[in-house]
């Protein structure tokens, strides 16, 4: 017989609340219970019944467990809105926590922990203390979780009252469920606090592994998740742990299996024996495959995780590709994930089978799935060279079906295949051109236009084909316009006949005059100028050989992959994002403690000094006491050379090329002329004189590399240069030697520079003001930025020990930090080499939780030392720069 609670949802129209109030205060127990049920029903559908608080609480003192539970439920929901009245319930709670019935004791503690009212929390401590030592394991396991609740409300209280110790004692409890809950609570408290609270030693490890055999499935998940943080001391220990965890792979609960997989993968990193690793991989495959027969939602979670696992250990499922074949009735999200894994597992051995599948999918109903299937064929072609031809023939077959979106998707991937295998499959272009008029999506159109432009010489009617697009040029999306522009230029360069010449006029006109899109306009101007000045150069630029592409789409960066693998089964592994990116409550405190191990003392002032930076940047310090280096400045008789903290990040930014939003290599000092110098005085403002210049360092000497270009109609001579006072005291160390410049010629020169000549007072900055004059024109003033790396000397390398010492000895106020969002570093090694080439020396690299931390040192003349710490994570590189002045 099932319940009939639905009757409680229907109430009479007239004055519901007063009626309930009356019923709640009746003397009949049954009626009271019904009334409470009605209140709960009203609460469920979202009515506000908080005004009945006192009346409901009055029903609390009852022997009836069911009624008690309902009242407690009401309290959890409304105590926060009625904190003063909630205190009325405290007495009953405390009394209940001493009830002879363990169910009631546990219920009282459980509920009190859910009521987040400060006054109640205070009363919670004593009952909780008692319950943690209760005779009944059911009460203890409830109390263990309650400590985590209390910690969430008031962390200090937990520490002051010694709950953490009691909780740690429970790890040795004889009841496995108590152990599991205590572990869960400790892990959570650790996650939320700065101090190390719960560290898994080899002793706790063995205790927990024993408990694993006996506790419930959920308890096993808690324990496995906690243990996956444990780092085995050596390969032998790792093997022992793994051996005790592998039986969990046979558990029917998918969460247990995934947590076990996580733990095994973590320990496998330590294991050196290839036999053991191979054996483990063999053991993990079947349970992972079995997850695919669970509910579709669980399958989805499993597939997202398998995607990560095969990226790290492709061998695990190398032979299981068939299990990822899509079933007709799989939900779309499962199909999409399966497809992704099929691409990852595709190899020369199984590609024929895989292609048959993809082809089948490409004729299904769901458009997104069909598109992805077509794209998958293209990605396999790019990945597997030997199978490329077969992939292409499948794509051509699909194009013949003439389903619009299939054709468009196929053309997009064929463009990539052309790039991957140049001069191999161009014979199919004719087939592609047949479907030209069916294209209506920007990406497909752009791809087709790219193909026409790229192979213009092989397509007889390339000009006609392109012309058909030109009519609608102004209406096309930007992506297509850009491609049309480039393709037309290519066509013109390859077939410089009359037709293309007219076309190019039309396109350039359209792209320069008629558009508001700066990208398009700029590109058009560049082409225009290239074509009008030097068509051969234009050929070199536009028709240059392109680098071969590879299929790296959907491959994760190794260190991100590491992190995600440590988070198997969690949201992070499903999103393929590190937890910090989506968890709102960011716990930075935990990282700080780890940092201290390396550079103690420096951390404490970190937040403070960064705040200082912000101040300094907002309003330049006016009084000396505001400048962090004021202390160092006063005893020095010479004008100060110390850039204040606020300046450093900017310089570091320039140094590392941050302004370009990529960590690009610093210009090689030995070849100052090779990369183009930044234009400081454009010809338009200089009456035809264009000046490009940059500071460079060479053999410990600083030069100002300048390029003069005379675009005016008259010869220019008698060049002179002057530098304004600046923070580094940069000045010319010799006269500027530039010959007479005839119209249309240019001259480059290296001007030797000296430091500490004309120091500026006032707030330091990286600004360098330059004046240049000649005999024919007025004086030109322009600004340059000082890149600090040119000052760094070659003796800037420090020993690790002395680095550490110096780091520690620095006053906190010397430290500044700055975040550079949106920066990506490609290839750590290469970047380090480049930095070393500019005398920025790499000291050490450490890894903690989510980031790599790099330490650098550099030295400027007169013994100014820079210590630099770079937190480099994928989403948020943070540069902390510490500066020291070693002068007296």
């Amino acid at each position: 017989m099932s319940g009939h609670d639905s009757k409680y949802f229907s109430t009479t129209k007239k004055g519901e609340i007063p009626e309930l109030k009356e019923e709640l205060n009746t003397q009949y127990k049954d009626k009271r219970k019904d009334a409470v049920k009605k209140v709960i029903a009203a609460m469920t559908v979202g009515k506000d019944v908080s005004s009945l608080f006192t009346d409901v609480v009055n029903c609390m003192q009852t022997e009836n467990l069911e009624l008690k539970k309902l009242v407690y439920l009401y309290l959890i929901n409304y105590a926060k809105s009625q904190p003063d009245l909630a205190i009325l319930a405290v007495n009953t709670f405390v009394k209940d926590s001493q009830d002879p019935n363990p169910l009631i004791r546990a219920l009282a503690v459980r509920t009190m922990g859910c009521i987040r009212v400060d006054k109640i929390t205070e009363y919670l401590c004593d009952p909780l203390q008692r319950c943690l030592k209760d005779d009944d394991p059911y009460v203890r396991k409830t109390a263990a979780i309650c400590v985590a609740k209390l910690h969430d409300i008031n962390a200090e209280l937990v520490e002051d009252r010694g709950f953490l110790e009691s909780l740690k004692d429970l790890i040795s409890d004889n009841n496995p469920m108590v152990v599991a809950n205590a572990v869960a609570a400790l892990v959570e408290i650790q996650d939320n606090s700065a101090r190390p609270i719960f560290e898994i030693t080899s002793h706790t490890l063995s205790k927990l592994l024993t408990a694993l055999n006996e506790c419930t499935e959920w308890g096993q998940v808690f324990i496995l998740d906690a243990l996956s943080r444990y780092k085995a001391a050596d390969a032998l220990e790792a093997e022992n742990i793994v051996e005790r965890v592998t039986p969990r792979l046979q558990h029917a609960n998918c969460a247990v299996v995934l947590s076990a997989v996580k733990m095994i993968l973590q320990q496998m990193e330590m294991i050196t024996s290839t036999d053991v690793v191979r054996n483990l991989c063999k053991k993990m495959a079947p349970p992972l495959v079995t997850l695919l027969s669970a509910e579709p939602e669980i399958q989805y979670v499993a597939l997202r995780n398998i995607n990560l696992i095969v990226q790290r250990r492709p061998t695990i499922l190398a032979h299981e590709i068939k299990v990822f074949f899509c079933k007709y009735n799989d939900p779309i999200y499962v199909k999409m994930e399966k497809l992704e894994i099929m691409i990852k597992l595709a190899s020369d051995r199984n590609i024929d089978q895989v292609l048959l599948e993809f082809k089948e999918y490409a004729t299904e109903v769901d458009v997104d799935f069909v598109r992805k299937a077509v794209r998958a064929i293209g990605r396999c072609a790019i990945k597997l060279e030997r199978a490329a031809e077969r992939c292409i023939s499948v794509l051509l077959e699909l194009i013949k079906i003439k389903v619009n979106y299939v054709v468009q998707e196929a053309i997009i991937v064929i463009k990539d295949i052309f790039r991957r295998y140049p001069n191999t499959y161009e014979s199919i272009i004719a087939t592609l051109c047949e479907s030209l008029d069916t294209l209506d999506e920007p990406e497909a159109k752009a791809s087709m236009i790219w193909i026409i432009g790229e192979y213009a010489e092989r397509i007889d009617n390339a000009d006609e084909l392109l012309e058909s697009f030109l009519e609608s040029f102004p209406e096309e999306p930007a992506q297509v316009q850009l491609q049309l522009l480039t393709a037309t230029v290519k066509l013109f360069l390859k077939k410089p006949t009359e037709g293309p010449q007219q076309m190019i006029q039309v396109v350039l006109n359209n792209a320069t005059m008629e558009t508001d899109n700066p990208d398009l306009r700029d590109r058009a101007y560049i082409y225009w100028r290239l074509l009008s000045t030097d068509p051969e150069a234009a050929k070199d630029v536009v028709l240059a050989e392109k680098p071969v592409i590879s299929d790296d789409s959907n491959q994760l960066d190794p260190s991100l992959l590491d992190e995600l693998l440590a988070n198997i089964a969690t949201l992070s592994s499903v999103y393929h994002k590190p937890p910090e990116t989506f968890v709102t409550r960011v716990k930075t405190a935990a990282q700080r403690t780890e940092d201290d191990e390396y550079a103690e003392g420096s951390e404490a002032g970190y937040s403070e000094s960064s705040a200082h930076t912000a101040d300094g940047a907002a309003s330049p310090p006016t009084s000396a006491s505001n400048v962090p280096y004021a202390g160092a400045r006063q005893p020095a008789p010479a004008p100060s050379t110390n850039p204040p903290a606020a300046l450093v990040p900017d310089l570091m930014g320039d140094l590392l090329g941050m302004d370009n939003s990529a960590m690009v290599p610093v210009d090689q000092p030995s070849t100052p002329a090779s990369p183009p110098l930044p234009v400081l005085l454009p010809a338009a403002t200089g009456q035809g004189l264009q000046i490009s210049a940059q500071l460079t360092g060479q053999d410990g000497q600083i030069f100002y590399s300048i390029l003069f270009e005379n675009n005016s109609q008259i010869p220019l001579d008698g060049f002179m240069i002057q530098f304004n006072k600046n923070s580094f005291g940069l000045a010319a160390a010799g006269p500027l030697q530039v010959p007479q410049l005839l119209p249309g010629t240019s001259a480059a020169t290296l001007l030797p520079m000296a430091l500490f000549q004309n120091m500026s007072a006032g707030p330091p900055s990286s600004l360098l003001q330059v004046a240049v004059k000649n005999n024919q024109q007025p004086v030109w003033y322009f600004n340059d930025k000082i890149s600090m790396h040119v000052f760094f000397t070659e003796d800037g390398r420090m020993e690790r020990g002395s680095f550490l010492e110096t780091w520690r000895s620095l006053p906190d106020s010397n430290e500044v930090s700055k975040d550079f969002p949106g920066i990506t570093v490609n290839g750590v090694e290469a970047t380090l080499d480049q930095l070393a080439a500019s005398n920025m020396f790499f000291i050490a690299k450490r890894k903690h939780a989510t980031q790599d931390v790099f330490y650098f040192s550099a030295r400027m003349p007169r013994g100014i030392t820079f210590l630099n710490r770079t937190h480099n994570s994928h989403w948020n590189p943070r540069h902390q720069v510490c500066h020291q002045d070693s002068k007296p």
Binding site: M1, S2, G3, D5, S6, T44, V45, E63, K69, N77, N101, L103, A106, D136, P137, Y138, V139, T142, I145, C146, A148, D152, P176, V178, N181, E188, D191, N213, T216, W218, D225, R248, Q250, H251, A252, A255, V257, S259, P286, T290, S293, E295, E297, V301, V323, K327, Y328, N329, Y333, Q353, E360, V403, A569, L571, S572, V574, F582, V583, T584, R585
Partner: protein, 438 residues
């Protein structure tokens, strides 16, 4: 963090909250509105079961006409969360006596609140075994075999059992007649190409048990699987008996099975829960005996006519028979008229699913009935895209047949009182997703 949930919502298809429980403070009470506006009322519904909206993540599942939504704001264990939902629904079903839907929730909301309080604490799943919970959470909705009428007094040692090492069985059970029923239920999943090549084929099997045993019995199950047999012959140092051995790709067990012992000795030993439960699941991909072969020929004769011929061959023993055989043969949407001839059973055109549905109630082994149909189509100009030809799907049950060939060799019951037990074993093979492309 092993946390699975900050809040659980049960919604009906319109998005009304049927019942909800907030376990943690880190998600607001109105998060369900976000779910409604950003997922339920958009096309996103059904595209992905894990979604992030603002600072919160939502995991949801639909079960009959109810959406169960879990909200978290931390890096929660998703696998744990979904498994929790699945288990919780199984628990509710066992309390309500079968159905889980909107009405069942409304009718049992007090009970559900009580259970939600018990099975999860602060977002951490606790004991979800129906056996144990029924000891002390007893409501009118319960059909408890143990307590004839609901009482408010809890069983004295209930709490010990919730947390005990055998958290799935209560002590002191007594049956007059000790019986064990064991069912091996196999689902055959097949994907066959139009040319008759097997693309994918596997069997997922379940061993279901119903135990009516007194006391705390220790059970041991022996199957004719390869690893188990090899280990056994090793231990007894005698050659393995000839006969068919089955290689199991993977096995998973109910939490009552001692996994460590399975790992070392390869024996399935356990203290069973009382009543019905799923002892183990297994998967087999090698050496599957397909019970049916389907040979379709579909000819499109011009734009408006189609000819469909389907032959179905039963390849199990002549003395056996299959029950409830249904073969769904897809036809295009614009089908106007169909006519068929069948050598056995009955066929019907079902326009709702665009299929010809051919049913054969009793299908003996070693026979091959055929169906031939003519389909007339409405000629349409708009239908530019060719027909995608979904696969033929098949449903069936074959009693006393296992597609894997798996057999129970022994089931030993040991209890300290030394009573005798009666064991019953049944086998049945069903169609899982049995698809033949055409």
């Amino acid at each position: 963090m092993p946390v699975a949930a900050s809040a659980v919502y049960f919604l009906n298809l319109r998005g009304d909250v049927l019942i909800n429980r907030l376990y943690r403070d880190d998600v607001g009470g109105n998060m369900v509105d976000a779910f409604r506006t950003h997922i339920m009322q958009t096309k996103e519904l059904g595209t992905c079961p894990v979604r992030q909206i603002g600072g919160c993540s939502f995991f949801y599942m639909r079960i009959s006409n109810v959406y169960i939504v879990i909200v978290v704001s931390s890096n929660a264990n998703v696998a744990c969360a979904f498994k929790f939902v699945v288990e919780a629904v199984a628990l509710f079903k066992s309390y309500f006596g079968g159905a889980f839907d909107e009405d069942a929730i409304r009718n049992n909301f007090v009970l559900i609140y009580e259970l939600l309080d018990e099975i999860m604490d602060f977002g951490y799943p606790q004991n979800l075994s129906p056996e144990i919970l029924k000891l002390y959470i007893t409501q009118e909705g319960v059909r408890s075999p143990f307590s004839s009428k609901p009482t408010d007094k809890p069983v004295p040692n209930a709490t010990l059992q919730v947390t005990g090492a055998v958290g799935w069985r209560r002590e002191g059970l007594v049956y007059k007649k000790n019986e064990v029923f064991l069912d091996i239920v196999e689902s055959v999943n097949l994907l066959m190409s139009s040319k008759g090549n097997v693309l994918r084929c596997d069997v997922t099997g379940k061993v279901l048990m119903k135990c009516f045993l007194s006391g705390m019995p220790d059970l041991k199950l022996g199957l004719n699987d390869k690893i188990g047999l090899e280990k056994e012959s090793q231990l007894k140092s005698r050659p393995a008996k000839s006969g068919k051995t089955i290689e199991l790709d993977d096995v998973t067990f109910h939490q009552c099975v001692n996994l460590t012992r399975f790992n070392s000795e390869k024996t399935v030993s356990f203290v069973p829960p009382d009543g019905e439960f799923e002892l183990m699941k297994y998967r087999i991909t090698e050496g599957v005996n397909l019970p049916f072969r389907v040979l379709p020929t579909i000819k499109e004769l011009g734009r408006t006519r189609m000819e469909v011929n389907v032959k179905v061959k039963s390849v199990f023993g002549a003395k056996m028979f299959a029950l409830g055989v249904v073969i769904k043969i897809p036809v295009p949407k614009q089908t106007a008229k169909t006519s068929f001839q069948v050598s056995s059973g009955r066929a019907k055109y079902n326009a709702a699913i665009d299929c010809i549905v051919w049913k054969i109630r009793k299908f003996p082994g070693q026979t091959e009935p055929t169906m031939s149909a003519e389909v007339e189509l409405i000629s349409t100009m708009t239908e530019k895209k060719s027909w995608t030809r979904p696969p033929i799907q098949m449903e069936f049950q074959v009693p006393m047949f296992t597609a894997s060939g798996l057999r129970v060799r022994f089931l030993k019951v040991w209890e300290k009182s030394g009573y005798n037990t009666v064991e019953w074993v049944r086998y049945i093979t069903k169609a899982g997703s049995y698809e033949i492309r055409c």
